[in-house]
Symmetry: C5
Amino acid sequence: MEHTKIKVIDYDKNEYIIKEYLKIEKEISEIDSLKIRWIIIDGITDINVIEDLGFLFGFHPLVLEDILNTNQAPKYEHYGEFTFIVLKKVIWNNEDKVFGTEQISLILGKKYVITFREQESDIFNPIFDRIMIPKGRVREMGADYLLYTLLDIIIDDYIIIQETINETIELIEDKLIEEPHIEILHSIYKLKRNIIEIRKSIWPVREIINKFQREDQILTSEKMQFYLRDIYDHIYLINDSLQNSRDIITGMLDLYLSSVSNKMNDIMKVLTIISTVFIPLSFLAGFYGMNFLDMPELKSPFGYPILILLMILIAIIMILYFKKKKWL
Amino acid sequence: MEHTKIKVIDYDKNEYIIKEYLKIEKEISEIDSLKIRWIIIDGITDINVIEDLGFLFGFHPLVLEDILNTNQAPKYEHYGEFTFIVLKKVIWNNEDKVFGTEQISLILGKKYVITFREQESDIFNPIFDRIMIPKGRVREMGADYLLYTLLDIIIDDYIIIQETINETIELIEDKLIEEPHIEILHSIYKLKRNIIEIRKSIWPVREIINKFQREDQILTSEKMQFYLRDIYDHIYLINDSLQNSRDIITGMLDLYLSSVSNKMNDIMKVLTIISTVFIPLSFLAGFYGMNFLDMPELKSPFGYPILILLMILIAIIMILYFKKKKWL
Amino acid sequence: MEHTKIKVIDYDKNEYIIKEYLKIEKEISEIDSLKIRWIIIDGITDINVIEDLGFLFGFHPLVLEDILNTNQAPKYEHYGEFTFIVLKKVIWNNEDKVFGTEQISLILGKKYVITFREQESDIFNPIFDRIMIPKGRVREMGADYLLYTLLDIIIDDYIIIQETINETIELIEDKLIEEPHIEILHSIYKLKRNIIEIRKSIWPVREIINKFQREDQILTSEKMQFYLRDIYDHIYLINDSLQNSRDIITGMLDLYLSSVSNKMNDIMKVLTIISTVFIPLSFLAGFYGMNFLDMPELKSPFGYPILILLMILIAIIMILYFKKKKWL
Amino acid sequence: MEHTKIKVIDYDKNEYIIKEYLKIEKEISEIDSLKIRWIIIDGITDINVIEDLGFLFGFHPLVLEDILNTNQAPKYEHYGEFTFIVLKKVIWNNEDKVFGTEQISLILGKKYVITFREQESDIFNPIFDRIMIPKGRVREMGADYLLYTLLDIIIDDYIIIQETINETIELIEDKLIEEPHIEILHSIYKLKRNIIEIRKSIWPVREIINKFQREDQILTSEKMQFYLRDIYDHIYLINDSLQNSRDIITGMLDLYLSSVSNKMNDIMKVLTIISTVFIPLSFLAGFYGMNFLDMPELKSPFGYPILILLMILIAIIMILYFKKKKWL
Amino acid sequence: MEHTKIKVIDYDKNEYIIKEYLKIEKEISEIDSLKIRWIIIDGITDINVIEDLGFLFGFHPLVLEDILNTNQAPKYEHYGEFTFIVLKKVIWNNEDKVFGTEQISLILGKKYVITFREQESDIFNPIFDRIMIPKGRVREMGADYLLYTLLDIIIDDYIIIQETINETIELIEDKLIEEPHIEILHSIYKLKRNIIEIRKSIWPVREIINKFQREDQILTSEKMQFYLRDIYDHIYLINDSLQNSRDIITGMLDLYLSSVSNKMNDIMKVLTIISTVFIPLSFLAGFYGMNFLDMPELKSPFGYPILILLMILIAIIMILYFKKKKWL
């Protein structure tokens, strides 16, 4: 689609410099030892850009393959010199009420961070802002802290999505109690599918942060431990919430099915009661509508009023029987 | 909402002193080395109070963030000098039959405990009472024991809630056997949701106590091990009970659905039997109500009595058939 | 309720002495170094007895608390000098078909065992008998072996209960295949609840025996390992059987629901077939029962016989259709 | 029942000797140091035989208890000098389509294997054959290899049973798609119960082989590792297959229930359509069958043909409505 | 069936040589120390070929047994000198919409790889191509890398199958929302069975790769770790996707059942409403069709119009009642 955009941000306590490139140039890998460099690659359609960059920095061929393949599960790989992380950013499509994901690959080196996005978006803007503030914490800390802020901002989206899910659940619940309808069932099903998809893209991240904490003693300073544990706690919370949502949805489904069958029963009861009351009465009416020449009841002057009384009696007995059975 | 309340209690074997502050003052962090200090912060709306306190004691920024964010899962973090714990106190709203939670953050230092509550409540009163008793065990032991009593009192609420759940289950069971009704289904659903919510706030605490036992050798004396294991056992018991409650609720749902379908069947049986008995009879009545000029049965003097006998016969055969099929 | 009963049994290879006390006396803790002492406390209503005993032997306050609180999960705690175990004995109430539990606390010291029961019962009688036999194995071995026989006898009750459950399952199965009835559903539900309750009281025991085996090298001799593993295997077997029972119950529930819906279908089929056969016939009868002055069919001498033939034809076609659809 | 049979087979590379005994004699424990001895005890009704043997070889009393108690889960116990294994052989009863189990206990010593069966059967015959072959592998290897062949032959039966289950599943599936019937439900339920029972007797064997591999360095040579791992893989495969069978059965149950409810719906649809078409028509017929003196329609010469047209119209509209609703 | 085909490929950086054999010859095991040898055995019907090869290379008899037995779960076995792996290649039968598997056994030695296939197929063609390219990576690396490419190509098929499953799910979903039909249920069931089968053949591979990574330090170079981890990640992704598919299928089943029951309810509602409206009206019509001599209503000139009004009134009340109940 669009052309791949290359942007390089160098910063330290005192200043920050932003440069844009049209193709990978040698100077991109020449990092000022006193600065932190953030290389942003937006759009991964141009394979040459990725391969040139990989050649410059000496990345393993599998890394480049993973960056280009967006149909990838989140993963973490430690390659000594650098650490490679693939994450999924969640995107909420409000029209279709469907969640999608976008792949973001991150490479952390000693003095640099490289991010690869499927396309340009505004997700990194808050971090740009923080870098531009002269005395912001990002400016004072290393590349590992930049990576933390990136992870944090990606994970935060999951928290927002989780809240959207919770709101949707409450919305469906309200409708459910009011009036069960087949549309609600479709909403429940859609929600369940969404949760399965989201869980798939967040679940492995827990293990990723875990490994990152344990294995990356070289690239991350000791202070980072608390920050990584904080992210780990967030993911734990999201996973837990998603699990709870699934449990609640199962409950809602039971409630829906029961409500529908309950309503059905109410309808059936009315049918049964009206039918069973009138069936014997109708039979009697039909009976005395027969055209036999010799039906003595028809000629008796008491025939008609007695029949009416009999019919009333039958109706009353029927209704009392239903009352006793608690069907009315 | 309300103003944040700051209360400081110093105690040792011989005496206890209670002071209230309007804002964080330097002397709050100056702890008498022979005394234990309990700092109580009620209401976390005033961010300045939290930040000033954090600055005084040198707490990590993530700790302050966690205290202020009440939408937090229970967590435990050991920061060398101090240990930070976030718990959820359960609150039972008897009107709506819904459980809520309130966040309580606890910080344990060598000689002090700091507690943060969302608002003032009477949950700590029993501990105040125990501190006021001259020879109470709290007065003779360290800050770690004070923390234990705080944990213990928060966990105890879960036990009470669990009992409330068990009572609710028995109540619903009784109603269920008596008469299945859609209201019961809503109660079951509500109960299930409540259990999911409670479990979410108690489940991580198990791991917290576990970590606390293993990692906090500096801040907790050896004697504390038995106390912590005791709390651990309580949480285990609560979790187990909640799990059992869920299993029982699943069983109740099956019972409800089956009871409803059973009742439905009874109704349908009556409809079927009455219908099937009368349908052929009504047909016969209708048949001889036809106005053909030449229907010999109508003119025969035996027509009418024979038809009546035939109808009785059909009814008897039908009923015998149903009896044989065990539908009656 | 009743007064707490205190009984002390001293034994060695040569003799055994049984003494009863009305209150805790100092000599209870003075154990003859050549003998094994078994202290039996029946009834835990008298708090003084428990506290006096705890003071004499120097038990931790949490131990006394746990003994008195019968609403306790099984637990194991090793306190160096002694080991504390809480178990649940199962009691089968044959009238209500409900299982209950009674708490039994056990303390194992170097030369003594103390047992606490909620009330006197005959569960320990087989052990009394074994102690009275001059050359019984109990008499020749240490306090740890006495504890083993106690554990063994408590666990054995679970095996018996498990067999009762299996028999109940087979009973319900037989009824189920014969005739599905709402009563069976209540039995299934009750059984499921019972299994949940029993599992709750036996499940933690596995871990208890495990810990006991690993941690108690001081109080238990090496020979005990095989005996403890034997108990462990029994508990494993019980747990497994309970799990299987639950699976079978789930299957029975499905079978019940399907049988009911199957019966329902049979009824509905009869209704449908009779209705659908007679509805068109009744319509025809009604049709020629109309009183229009000018209905040529009524006046035709062939009208009546042709109609009868038509009706028979319709009935035959209907029945053939149902036969083809395999509804008959 | 029958008398316990005692058979002793001694073998080495050069020869094999088979002896039968009526009771345990001292020479049974006197093993030629150059030969491997296999002692076969068939029938465990004669307790004396077991106890005498146990006394001769110095087995732990718990071992003898376990051999005699056939209501036992599979177990493994390493007693230094010897290793004790309890397994369950599966027996397929083709008439009742029910699986049963028979307990086989095995004791492995340095130069001997003892097997205990509930009764004589032909399961060991292939091994007898292999021992009788002069250059068979069994003859050249130690007691541990004999044990392996015994384990292998017992586990092989499970594989055969698993295949029987798979065939049964396919048989039921075929019937299910053809015509859902309550008998199929009973078959499914029976199959599920059988799988639960089989799984109970094979599941613990995995752990047994695992322990055997790890702990028995003295009694088993290094070469045995591959053989044991091979058995382990077989058990893994069986367990996995059983788990899959359960999943498939769950699916079949869903399919059955849905097929039944689908058929039910078809029947109901026919009832509904015929009823709803004829109900208004029958009403009209009944209406003009009324005997009011003054009903102008009856006297009009167009009354009858117009009514017929009206009835046809109503029927057509009804059918079109159902077509639109896709009920036809 | 067909004759076993033997093909030997020797390659190094400079050249590659392909030879075909009709039977196993001694030179097959004489590997040029500077080259990598790939021995391809297609068709395992000829037991002699396998046994001769096993004898030449000194393979364990269990290895040969496993190669010949195609009813095998995936397995991994490390035999010091060589490593033995059994995998299942998935084959998609597009006509029956059923997945099948073919067994591929692989043996990795220091300088050689041997592959055994059930029959010749084109799965290895891409690897042949890569070997024929002069500067391909395969040509420059060891036997371990050849094994990696083989594993990779087998696992890749699972990814394709997983995509086929996802497409099938979406296809069924679309049909499901449009119109629930019993055919869809059969598709869902078939899909579920397929997933169970696929999962069975891919699930153990995860553990295999894991073991391979840990245990095979001798046969695999350090560089291989990244490649193996890459395969591990793919398997993880497949397993995860299969699990998700199963969850989605469960949801679809619920949706199907609910849709069917929903449609059923719609039909029943129509039946009920039409029935209950007309039943009282038909009764009235029947009532005034009776032939009593003395029915004053029939003679009154207002009888007929009043009855018509009454009937309209009853119909309106009925319909209003249903509207209020939200059945219309």
